[in-house]
């Protein structure tokens, strides 16, 4: 009995002491990837019985490093290269060498790296794809000659880094930027938005940033040794290890468990899908089998925006992506390349599409007819109708006799067909299998056409590449084609001018045609009618976007131009056209219907009220069986009983 009590006391005391143990303080810098890594450590420790105090998102590199040294933090994810920089040691590119270099000075400071996570997160200079193609940028060194025209965007912690930061970067590569924008660390992701909106031209991102891929941006290679290797690993102190000797063992399962694609995906889930770092980390750990729990991700709700593959990374496509992401937080919005974006929309593979205005029309024998199955939700930019010809070919589009276009049904074929019909002179079209610049260029090169049409966003990659790689081709005037009746037949076009030097080989201003690039969604049926609801009702049609969504996208796009009057716009954007101001009934058929209903009501009323004597009672008595009259008598007895 006494032994039992003693044993119980012992167990209780042990349990209590375990509970009362000081918590492990897990901290991190305030970037998304650091938060995710820190949450992974914290959750792993908790799963192994540690009590954990979270100081996740504590500050920038220096803040957290100092906190660790001061003993107020026990462990946080750090990058070997950053630690090197914090200690002011010359850069080193080889990861193992970096680690070897750190051992000694860290031991002196009482710090220790645990086994690395297996992911490297480098700084990477990023630019827009169009800019990279136009200026033929590949490495950072190639920025030097044009840096005077460019603006750089960096985070504050990069700007303040002593060795591998802004000052050393611009000095080593001899970069004299027109302007340098520094944003606080917590708004670091906003740099991507600024880059897309052309408020900056180059930025320093992390190689693990999902935006680089999502927005089709061009990372520049660092072609001279500057940034050290940045292996991510838990950094702890000897003091912390003496308090929590089991810490390295507890974190051992994380060693080598996170690779770069995994981390990028986790960061994307936080940034794009709007999940918390802890939720994302918990799911990842459950998948890896490090922590028990549900590996089931809460339903991911992808939303695809179909876009021509050549347009990936272009300004309009990225503006659409950004606006839809802002408007629909919590959804994994992504651009989906599709040769024919509107077919993808109709087939339900995409919820929206980014297309030039011409795609809203279809060709009929009577000319271009507006497609009523789709509606424009917002304007994200303009598409140019590029006219390309040989150097010794026609000087204007109007002089060409054979014009190469995209395949039948493509917007460029539609425009060319309508122009042919209304233009003077005989002109034949040579539709190609593909509407990209490469296919049109090769048609001209092999003599299948004298000129060609490409609809593309300004300075789109394939157009720029074609002009650069085929010096025999040049851009020619096209606007003169759009005259007289064609203006009425193709109301969505407008005139635009391409400045000299804006495209390879362009030495004079060229006047071209352009049109709006719009986000497009499926349109609801035109008239009010029977809805999709019912006890059993099923609808396979693609549903239009809700007004709420359309308005949110409109807000996210900001003060941009309205959808052109020639396009069908979402009803949430345009007030309904006022009906004729008259007090007279616009629908005489409804008056007739109403009269009919009242006439029927009159008949019903007469049938109800006419005197019983007029009823041919005989028939109904025929049908009532004798058995049925008995209960009637019984019923009356019953009610009499109730009365009394």
């Amino acid at each position: 009995m006494m032994r039992g009590v003693a044993a119980f006391c012992l167990v209780a005391a042990l349990t209590l002491s375990a509970c009362a143990r000081t918590p492990v303080v897990v901290a991190s810098k305030n970037t998304v990837q650091d938060r995710v890594l820190a949450e992974m450590m914290a959750l792993t420790l908790e799963a192994r019985g540690f009590s954990v105090e979270r100081r996740i998102g504590l500050g920038d590199s220096a803040d957290v490093f100092q906190a660790l040294r001061a003993g107020s933090v026990d462990v946080y994810p750090e990058y070997s290269g950053t630690a090197l920089a914090l200690l002011d040691v010359p850069p080193e590119v080889d990861p193992d060498a970096v680690r070897a270099r750190l051992v000694e000075p860290f031991a002196a400071l009482g710090l220790e790296f645990l086994a690395p996570f297996g992911v490297e997160s480098r700084f990477v200079p990023v630019t827009r794809r169009a800019l990279a193609q136009r200026a033929e940028l590949a490495g950072v060194s190639s920025l030097a000659p044009i840096a005077g025209e460019l603006r750089l965007g960096v985070s504050r912690s990069f700007a303040e880094r002593p060795r591998d930061g802004l000052a050393g970067f611009v000095e080593l590569f001899g970069l004299d930027f027109r302007d340098v924008v520094v944003v606080p660390d917590e708004r670091r992701e906003g740099l991507y938005q600024m880059l897309i909106d052309e408020r900056i031209d180059v930025m320093i991102g992390f190689s693990t940033d999902p935006q680089i891929f999502d927005f089709g941006l061009a990372p520049l290679s660092v072609d001279r040794p500057f940034f050290p290797a940045y292996d991510a690993a838990p950094l702890t102190s000897t003091a912390a290890l003496s308090r929590h000797p089991a810490l390295p063992d507890a974190l051992a399962p994380l060693a080598g468990a996170v690779d770069a694609p995994t981390l990028r995906e986790l960061v994307r889930q936080v940034q794009v899908t709007g999940r918390t770092p802890r939720a994302v980390a918990a799911i990842a750990l459950a998948r890896l089998g490090i922590v028990e729990g549900s590996a089931a991700t809460p339903p991911e709700i992808p939303l695809a925006i179909a876009v021509n593959p050549e347009e990936l990374g272009s300004g309009p496509a990225n503006r659409a992506l950004e606006a839809v992401r802002t408007a629909m937080p919590g959804r994994a919005v992504a651009l989906a390349p599709a040769k024919r974006p509107l077919s993808a929309l109709a087939g339900g593979e995409a919820r929206m599409a980014v297309v030039p205005a011409a795609a809203h029309f279809r060709l009929t024998p009577d000319g271009a007819i507006r497609e009523e199955g789709v509606e424009a939700i917002g304007v994200v930019g303009r598409s140019v109708l590029y006219a390309i010809a040989q150097d010794d070919g026609p000087a204007r589009l109007g002089d060409a006799r054979v014009v190469a276009t995209g395949p039948e049904g493509s917007p460029s074929h539609l425009i060319a067909s309508v122009l042919t019909r209304h233009g003077e002179g005989d002109l034949t079209l040579a539709p190609q299998a593909d509407s990209g610049a490469a296919s049109i260029g090769s048609a001209i090169a092999r003599g299948a056409a004298e000129a060609g049409l490409v609809i593309a966003s300004r300075q789109r990659g394939d157009v720029v590449r074609l002009l650069r790689e085929s010096p025999g081709l040049r851009l020619v005037d096209a606007s003169a084609w759009w005259q007289g009746p064609t203006r009425i037949a193709l109301p969505f076009l407008g005139e635009a001018t391409l400045r000299p030097e804006s495209h390879p080989g362009l030495d004079r201003a060229v006047s071209v045609l352009s049109m709006q690039t719009v986000i497009t969604g499926p349109a609801p049926p035109g008239t009010a009618g029977l809805g999709r609801q019912g006890p059993i009702s099923f609808d396979t049609r693609v549903q239009p976007l809700t007004d709420t969504t359309v308005r949110a996208i409109d807000r996210a796009l900001g003060t941009r131009v309205d959808v052109g009057a020639s396009l069908r716009a979402a009803p949430a954007l345009v007030p309904r056209p006022p009906e004729a101001r008259t007090a007279r009934n616009p629908r005489p058929d409804q008056a007739l219907l109403t009269a009919g209903i009242f006439a029927y009501l009159g008949v019903i009323g007469w049938l109800l009220l006419r005197r019983r004597g007029q009823l041919p009672n005989a028939r109904s008595d025929d049908r009532a069986t004798p058995a049925a009259s008995a209960p009637r008598a019984a019923a009356s007895d019953h009610s009499q009983n109730q009365e009394t």
């Binding site: 089931a296 029977l530 019912g534 006890p535 099923f538 609808d539 209960p631 019923a635 009365e643």
Partner: protein, 500 residues
């Protein structure tokens, strides 16, 4: 003699309309839906007023002096236990819609309530009330009145359970016979197409459910295979008779549905669900008068009314003849008061709870949870249910259970439909012969297959709602016949008047 006429004329109408749908799906769907839409939008005030009048009429019947009249001889007692009876009401009348729209409808209204800002707490309250307006008293009053009239004439007056029975003797003269045959033919045609259209959409729903649970290809072949299984199941069920097949399936369904509801109730935000149930009950009761007559003439929201409230009313009317006759068949021996409570009040209370559980949990996900559900509902209603389960543990099991439920609901609907058709065409025999069931079960399956082959959901919808508007005219005649019959029914008040 007359049943032969009904059978032949009905067949003569069904076959060409079915062929029209198969070979010219666009024009068929366009004309039928166009007709329904024109009637619905042009006289929206009339439909709302008519259906609300049914609610009032049902209340008067239940609470007034006629409440104690028994649907049968005074010493008759119900054939079915109250639980089985209510299970069969749901199985016959609501079908899989409760499952699909249980989450989707409240969330849709929450996202975009008519005439106000969506996503707010106030929108949540409005959403729950509107949903219950669509699935509550109005729906069940339409069914209830249809059923009550048939049941009264069948079991109290010893007539035949036909659409035309209440009309006997109403018109008189030479026109009467034509009207009676016309009413019965209309009933048969409405049930055939209502059933075929619904089964076609149901097969598509099951296919889409299978696709999201076990990744089945969404081809026409799969839909036809589902129909074949469905056909076998409902033929077996209907041939074993209402007492066995239908009752068993309905009870299984009820248990499954209740288990699913309990699961979400307990695993989901329990307190929130019950708070919203109580809140909705209060809001529904206090706003029922306003809502029963609310159109949007000043806001220019006619389109909203048409595509939600009126669409539901049209659906309930379209299913009226078939559900009405079926409910009548299983309600022998109950008093009018009991009938109204059981067919109208209890199901309404149940749907308030049901929508509080599924819709409430859905709105909770949007307001306080991870969110994203309303976006999904806006994208694809039929996947919303399965996505909704994804927010809870055992999502796979829930999805399979939901699919089973949907399937059984389809079987029970088709079972009762076949049964009703056989009754209607065998001059109202309460236990129709197996041959009639085989003929009608087969014909419905063939028309359903044709609808699936037309690959136009619009055709299915057009068929399913085809009978609604003509039937509403017949229903009014039935009400007149019923009122006249009631007037001759000795009641307490009539006696009291005589005494004074």
């Amino acid at each position: 003699m007359k049943s032969n006429a009904v059978f032949l004329i009905a067949l003569a109408i069904c076959v060409p309309v079915g062929l029209w749908g198969l070979f010219a799906p666009d024009t068929m769907a366009g004309s039928v839906l166009g007709f329904t839409t024109w009637f619905m939008v042009g006289a929206s005030w009339w439909w709302l007023a008519l259906c609300s009048a049914f609610v009032i009429f049902a209340a008067v019947l239940a609470l007034g002096p006629w409440g104690s009249i028994r649907l049968g001889a005074d010493d008759d007692r119900p054939d079915f236990s109250t639980a089985s009876w209510i299970a069969m009401l749901f199985a016959g009348g609501m079908g899989a819609g409760l499952l699909f729209w249980g989450v989707a409808e409240p969330v849709t209204h929450f996202d975009a309530p008519p005439g106000q800002e969506g996503g707010t707490p106030e929108a949540a309250r409005v959403a729950m009330v509107i949903t219950n307006l669509h699935w509550g008293l109005h729906a069940w009053s339409i069914y209830g009145i249809c059923a009550l009239i048939i049941a009264y004439f069948t079991f109290r007056r010893g007539g035949k359970p036909l659409i035309s029975t209440p009309l006997v003797g109403l018109i008189g003269g030479r026109a009467e016979r034509g009207v009676l045959v016309g009413a019965d033919v209309l009933g048969v045609v409405a049930v055939v197409f209502g059933l075929a259209g619904s089964l076609a959409m149901g097969a598509l729903q099951v296919r889409s459910g299978l696709a999201s649970v076990i990744d089945v290809p969404e081809t026409i072949g799969v839909a036809l295979a589902i129909l074949a299984v469905l056909y076998a199941a409902y033929m077996i069920s209907t041939l074993t008779g209402v007492e066995k097949g239908m009752k068993l399936l309905s009870n299984i369904n009820m248990v499954l549905a209740l288990a699913m509801m309990l699961f979400i109730m307990l695993v989901g935000p329990t307190a929130f669900i019950f708070e919203s149930a109580v809140d909705t009950l209060g809001a529904y009761v206090s706003q029922i008068v306003t809502l029963s007559f609310r159109l949007f003439p000043y806001e220019g929201l006619t389109q909203w009314s048409a595509s939600w409230t009126l669409t539901y009313l049209i659906w309930w009317l379209a299913w009226g003849p078939f559900v009405g006759v079926f409910i009548a068949r299983i309600s022998k021996g109950r008093t009018i008061r009991e009938f109204c409570a059981g067919v109208i009040l209890v199901p309404t209370l149940f749907s308030i709870l049901w929508f509080a559980v599924f819709g409430g949990a859905g709105i909770y996900v949007e307001l306080f949870g991870p969110g994203g559900l309303s976006a999904l509902v806006a994208d694809n209603v039929s996947e919303a249910l399965f996505a909704f389960f994804g927010y809870f543990p055992l999502a796979g099991l829930l999805s399979v259970a939901a699919l089973a439920l949907i399937f059984i609901f389809l079987v029970t609907s088709a079972d009762s439909g076949t049964f009703v058709l056989s009754m209607m065409t065998t001059d109202g025999r309460l236990e129709p012969p197996a041959t009639a069931k085989i003929v009608w079960g087969g014909l419905v399956a063939v028309i359903t297959a044709a609808t699936l082959l037309s690959t136009s959901v619009e055709v299915a919808r057009a068929m399913a709602t085809l009978g609604a508007i003509p039937f509403s005219a017949v229903l009014m005649l039935q009400v007149v016949g019923f009122l006249r019959a009631l007037a001759s029914e000795p009641t307490g008040r009539a006696k009291a008047d005589q005494v004074t």
